[in-house]
Symmetry: D2
Subunit: 360 residues, 4 copies
């Protein structure tokens, strides 16, 4: 039950870090969508390893294959299956982990829940699984493009290096022009320096990704349990290493007075209802109000270190884990397209639900 | 689709703030559970208005009726419907709001989404709807009691008054002994003073609720999309006025190094796998590891003020909203049982899913 | 999980035969639908007991109350809860059944599955539960009226009395003008005579209900698992006492040659694609083709007899069940509106799903 | 939404008749199940083309590959993806059909619903899609074997050749020993002769498959909407070419009196509750009662004929379809494993749901 996301536009993912590959089945994608394979591959390329000096140097081509659901360049309404074979699954790198419980990984909990586990590179619990999400999210983005909805995520914090500028003052075109994916170049340089330093120490560091949705019409989201921000929050919290989610004024808003926090309504020249401020983050009562939606996602430092750590094995015996392999010292740069993909999946689903009333 | 929560243990809620009442249908509750009506009523009493001087003085008895699913004091496996009639629905208090869009409320978004709306007290968007969640959550708590799982929420911050103590150093028995529901009495007094001050100004204030789950076995939660913290996050973010969710180290964890943040495994005297620290918040790879689960929920200041505010009406005309009626200056004290109820609903559902493997 | 039906237009039912009453929550009904209470009550009246001499003489007013989801005469998009109190729940009539397993009833299976059971009148397993389905189905019918879709069910067979006319030759206005709900009066009289005879013997008899859907547009239904006829079949088979379902040529079609059975396509004067014959029953590949949809539903003889039967009790002891109470000798007349209600629920759901493609 | 089946043990299928292949993702299969690849392949072999002289001579190896979810010979709890490449997809055979609407096929309804379609061999609407169901069903069967549940389907009727023997008098070991899959050899020969005759005429013929479930414990199935027979019915009606479903006494039972039809309870020597007859087909109130479950499924004659037929094309122009290609004159022999597979999927799902009550 846990490998499917969405109600109308639904993805089901499968695959393991060091198995044959990873795949996604997209069910509920409308027929007639132009299937822009180059765009999908470009999205996968934004996530793939070894794209810059500050991410893991593991080599994966991450070239996807379309198994079903597309005919003569368009979606048919049938389920779209995409498959990304693993190219570089050196299982021998991981045999020393067959019985180890790596700290702050899912080895122990998977073993306890399932009785045995695919220990090769973390198996299903590896963040490699997100390659399938990005593939599915790219198809969702194709659908959202028709509706003039833009999703932009960027690195807003690495360790204690914080991008303090308001998002309105940022040039989003800079995001993919630096390896950290931060749209402010001086801050990006500080972040990159910090990541290099941390990596030199065999250590890792966390950070925050911000995401802005522009062009979302009023009325997106459902009251009560499927509030737009509740589903976005679940989507973000389902990404490996995420520890927190806030939207609009977020945690900082709790110490504001209502009289400061309330977003006053006005009507603009075109007669459109707007708010003077946007502490609501574009969502009121769980439903979009036509303003920008924005939220922030906290990522913990990567659990795999390039230095020895004490742990135990499956028999409870104390062991020392050596740091080896090729790993990210900071997950943020590669997580930016993952945050966007999950956001696109949420919005594609809600945009379809928006159409359900024949009486309006 | 949006009024149902849960996969196996599922609730569907219905009702409006100033309609006939609010109800909940609980489907999937195991048969044979002793239906402790006094406990359920006590949970509703913890949430109800007018229980102290710092919450709304609106009078609601919030006495529930059992419509189905219980026979001879036990659940039968049939859906359990609980109904809480509205006693104090003075619609005339609200007719001045029929065409107004209250700032930071859901009036505008409901109108835009549905074409018309029940404007009496916010209709379905009112936090009064949570009475049905608390009723459903109380039944979930009855089930969790059999499994020795305890859920404890408390007010951890009001405005800038922050409870800084670690939860291990708190006496949870104090929570319900003060009107703010903060387990540290000196802090509780400061919080209460702040709420009184804010109320005097006709203003409101937000805060943070912390929640601790003890006794949860290893293995609860599902990998990938239904991670335990992702579903808890969605549950919390679905509560009115919530702006953020974090678990374990949360947003603060992002500036830690991996070497500080990793929770080292050990085996205790009884042979049980434990972690030395608990930055993971009891969850690894989305699955409980047997340690305490803890998380924090941010609530914005209440949007309804007891002072005039500018706004517009449905025709786009500028109006001034007068503050009247009986409202909470701070939602935190009454939100504590709501956070617990949603937590109980998540856990009851996951505990049932935990049983699904006949091979283990 | 089992008390909810539908994906977008969803009902959740609750209640027992001799408890407080029966209810339905309708979630996903579009906002802005005129809520025609008189129509809903009229549908309930078509199902209620004691409406003619050949059905049970048990008295139930079956007057429904609207608990939520309707404001100023229209649906609001919020869940609509309808409640039908039980007026005539004389539990004392049933205490002799507390430990008995009535033959071909659900007493034994409920006891085995749930460990205890509400034995008053069959509790949740009673066909009284269908009152909630008819209420929900009436709302679905209101929605379908906007779309010019008509659903007509009638009694096509009672015991060996078979209505042999093709449905095109029948006058549907006669259906509700005779107690059997058969649109051919001479056949209706034979059916009625058979039911009277059977009742005199303290016995019961089964039959077949036919159902015709007119005005359904092309494209309704989903390929693969949610084929239109598969979901209709599930809906019908979920009704108490139903033993079979067939659509189009049905079981009789199996002995036809493909060359006889195939429905040849033609274009009518208006350029519309039509078929010369309709062995397909208006559905091809699970999707409506614009022709009439028709199907047949088999009902077994009612299990409750007005004569003694041997059985056992919960301890395995042999007992004799006396026939008492007020029961239907034949369920068909009252099942006609139930078949229509379930059909309406299926179609309302599919009609909403039909709108999901923004590209068409 | 329509490509997923099941609630706990769930399959999602994808693929087209003449695309790259067909696949299935099985989510919710318990961890630790021995993954018997030879058994799964054997099930696929029972369904595959060209296994006898009376089925299509199209060549497909139908060799499956395991893409995920299995490690060291056992399921891991992760989703299991199986992939069956198409070997023999000669699209050129079908280009003449690009614009034709074949009678009683899904060409027209798919075109109308989706705006364009994969016309190669019927695309997604082809019965080739069932290869994925059989693969998924084989995994379900592996799970059911642990629980001593046996599912046996066989051909009970072809055209007017009817197997009249009660299933208790049949030797199921004969089923796979004749090309028709009928357990009575003289009848099988008549059926085979009829199929050969029909094929010679370029025509096709329908039939009935019966299915018997032995070893099912009491308590399987859910009341109200997910009755065991309702879900079985939906599963069967979702198979291509199925026109009807009945269980227990079925359509024949409608002309019985209640006093004949009721299954009298008794206690056997071991104290187990049994019924004297089994008109209930092993299901009462939607829940299994421990007796054999049996049902029958009607299949229409195959729509593809080996002779000319009139039709129209997408522009409404009249055309003549020539019969060519390699097709089944009768679907029954190859449908037997499909019926079993869908039954296994239903039961695996319900058997897991059966475990959900921690109080029993």
């Amino acid at each position: 039950m846990s490998n499917t996301f969405g109600k109308i536009f639904r993805i089901t993912t499968f695959g393991e870090s060091h198995g044959a590959g990873n795949g996604v089945v997209i069910d509920g994608c409308p027929a007639g969508l132009e299937f822009d394979e180059a765009f999908i591959q470009a999205e996968l390329d934004r996530r793939k390893p070894a794209q810059s000096a500050i991410v893991t140097q593991r080599k994966e081509g991450d070239i996807f294959q379309t198994l079903s659901g597309v005919f003569e360049g368009k979606t048919t309404g049938a389920p779209i299956a995409l498959w990304i074979p693993n190219e570089n699954a050196k299982s021998q790198d991981y045999t020393h982990l067959a019985y180890a419980y790596r700290p702050s990984h899912a080895d122990y909990t998977y073993q306890a829940k399932y009785g045995h586990r695919d220990y090769r590179g973390g198996g299903r619990s590896s963040a490699r699984e997100t390659v399938a999400r990005v593939a599915g999210g790219a198809v969702a983005k194709l659908l959202l493009k028709h509706q003039q909805i833009q999703i932009t995520a960027y690195t807003a914090q690495v360790g204690k290096v914080i991008l303090t500028k308001d998002y309105h003052d940022l040039d989003f075109s800079l995001i993919d022009q630096n390896p950290v994916r931060c749209p402010d170049l001086p801050t990006a340089e500080q972040m990159e320096a910090l990541i290099r330093e941390v990596r030199k120490e065999g250590d890792t560091i966390g950070g925050v990704i911000a995401c802005i949705i522009k062009g979302l019409p009023t009325g997106v989201g459902e009251p009560i349990f499927d509030k737009l921000h509740a589903v976005l929050g679940k989507a973000m919290l389902s990404i490996q290493a995420v520890k927190g989610f806030e939207y609009g004024s977020g945690f900082a808003g709790v110490s504001m007075r209502g009289s400061e926090h309330n977003d006053i309504f006005q009507t603009d020249e075109a007669g459109k209802v707007r708010t003077l401020t946007n502490h609501s983050g574009g969502i009121q009562g769980g439903i979009s109000n036509g303003e920008d939606v924005y939220f922030r996602v906290a990522f913990k430092p990567v659990a795999t270190l390039m230095r020895p750590q004490p742990s135990i094995d499956g028999a409870g015996k104390e062991i020392t884990l050596e740091g080896k392999g090729r790993h990210d010292p900071c997950v943020l740069p590669r997580a930016v397209p993952i945050v966007e993909a999950m956001t696109a999946l949420v919005l594609a689903d809600f945009m379809l639900r928006l159409r359900l009333n024949p009486l309006l």
